[in-house]
Subunit: 323 residues, 2 copies
DNA sequence: ATGAAAGCGCTAACAG
DNA sequence: CTGTTAGCGCTTTCAT
């Protein structure tokens, strides 16, 4: 049983395949094809379940209708919310979002991006896998190349030095600054900052916000910097004990670490204020101060931005989403 | 600047494009093309950065090299772990996994599946969006059609009545049965089962395991069945208060609900044993008994199975993954 | 209004 | 060992 092609429809209906193509592409009127013929073709195609061949039409049009998203992982609500935001705008504009994950591996990231482009992705939304500070620098050449040839590329959560592509961020610095200031005004003096030591711009900005807020009050900044992505790692526990004698509050740059810290503190019988970026899973609530993360809104902005780039608009540069 | 095609390479090198095609497809030796020519072509292609055109080759070969995964959502560790498992096997076999989410919407699910197939997905891994019991039945016709025409389809976590496609499950019934029996042997008598009222086979099996374990000891089964996916919903709190007078233990079929229950109990100053399917986020630990879910292994099995189907093997039916 | 013809870039059978 | 030829299914220009 052969696939149903325009050719066959034409034979079946006794007209040429050009006519069929024109009608099915909605250009029937434009080419003044008789209403009768048009209707005949359309209804036949519909009831015979005709589907144009994707590869054949893409070979001509160069339009795949999908946008690629490459994330380090999808296990946290961070990515889930981003996806929700992106899909909500892309789906309505008839683009399909195709997601793939780099497993925190730069080689794999590059490989996936290339595969997505090879398959004709019309745009790319990337949350780059950034290395830890001790792991060297991000190999950004392949990304730069994309940006340079004006491929529709949107970065999320982490901008990359010297890449001319829009980057969707939240107000990391001011939010960190004011959150830490608030902790101070509540009486904390020896606030310890706990963070991954990741070269992601969002993290870096939060660290700076913390530092500046402490310095602004003449306080000393102190850090616990982690280099283990594995949530089971014991690095936090070890480093925490040194700090615990003096610490009277914590500022944490990511959600998961704050949960872990909370638990460790409780195990040690200590109750200290924690302010963190992130928000409690709606299933779990904990006694800490959350700096909300507008991930869904960021996802939507990323989706809108990639569509604009595809439509030929110029890169809007860095975009900060605050709500 | 035109795209680099085989034609151009051939012109450049003064040979025919067939030769180029053969060499680049690795059939050079088979067609006894001189080593010299082969090397010349290969090295030219490499340094010129030649990439075959995806659409053109797929138009001929009908091979897209990707496998689609459609999930209700990606926000929970459930999906994240599945993805990790799948990618770990598919990546090594040179298939790309393309993920998309149905947002718990059947229409959307069908739409996405069709788009993935339209774009040439060679296989489909599906976690179907099942309706609540009060929402009518799963519209399985489009899935059945896929299965009937032997399209490589693997279901995960939820098998569908009357569909002849492999389904990757865990040992829901026996695990539930023995977990509840254990609770009973620890002295619980009025164990309440808390669950989504979802028509997913995994959930249904867990409910049966609970019921049978209770009946086996001559105990009465009692349920709190929820119909709100939104984790912020208050339905659990409301239904819980009626039960709290008598309940002396809980069996919960999913992770998130158990967390929510735990919190509500604590708010009410009650400490009661909870056994649940799922496992604590590594960041959070809670005082309850977890029935581990082998999601990564299930993902791997799903990946392996879809590859087997693509290779032409017959459907292996239901597969239960226990570790 | 309709059809013929020339591609899009690659594959493969066949002849030389 | 290499080239010719005939597609894959669809799009689009240009005659008629």
């Amino acid at each position: 049983m052969k696939r149903l092609t325009m050719q066959r429809i034409a034979q079946q209906l006794g007209c040429s395949r050009t006519t069929v193509s024109l009608v099915l592409k909605g250009k029937g009127d434009q080419y003044r094809i008789s209403r009768q013929t048009q209707e005949k073709i359309r209804s036949f195609a519909r009831q015979a379940g005709y589907k144009p061949d994707y590869f054949a039409s893409a070979l001509n049009s160069r339009q795949s209708g999908f946008i690629a998203a490459v994330f380090p992982d999808v296990f946290e609500s961070f990515m889930g919310s981003l996806v929700r935001g992106m899909e909500s705008v892309l789906y309505d504009r008839d683009y399909t979002l195709m997601i793939s994950t780099s497993r925190f591996d730069q080689r794999r990231e590059q490989d996936l991006v290339e595969k997505m482009l090879y398959r004709g992705a019309e745009g790319l939304i990337l949350v780059p896998t950034m290395p830890f500070r001790n792991e060297g620098t991000y190999r950004n050449t392949y990304i730069r190349e994309l940006a340079d040839r004006k491929f529709p590329l949107v970065l999320v959560d982490r901008c990359i030095e010297g890449i001319d592509a829009p980057c969707i961020l939240q107000e990391d610095y001011p939010l960190a600054f004011s959150a830490v200031s608030r902790l101070i005004s509540r009486g904390c003096r020896r606030i310890v900052c706990v963070s991954f030591d990741l070269q992601a711009s969002s993290i870096e900005q939060r660290l700076l916000g913390y530092r500046d807020a402490m310095h602004a009050q003449g306080l000393t900044d102190q850090y616990i910097l982690l280099e283990e992505l594995n949530p089971e790692a014991h690095d936090l526990a070890e480093k925490l004990d040194n700090m615990l004698k003096t610490a009277d509050g914590f500022f944490v740059t990511t959600t998961g670490i704050a949960d872990k810290l909370f638990r460790l503190l409780r195990q040690r019988g200590r109750v200290l204020p924690i302010t963190r970026f992130g928000s409690a899973s709606p299933y779990m609530t904990r006694d800490m101060t959350d700096i909300p993360q507008p991930h869904v809104a960021m996802g939507m902005k990323a989706g809108e931005t990639v569509l604009k780039l595809i439509a030929g608009e110029a890169s809007p540069g860095t975009l900060r989403v605050s709500e």
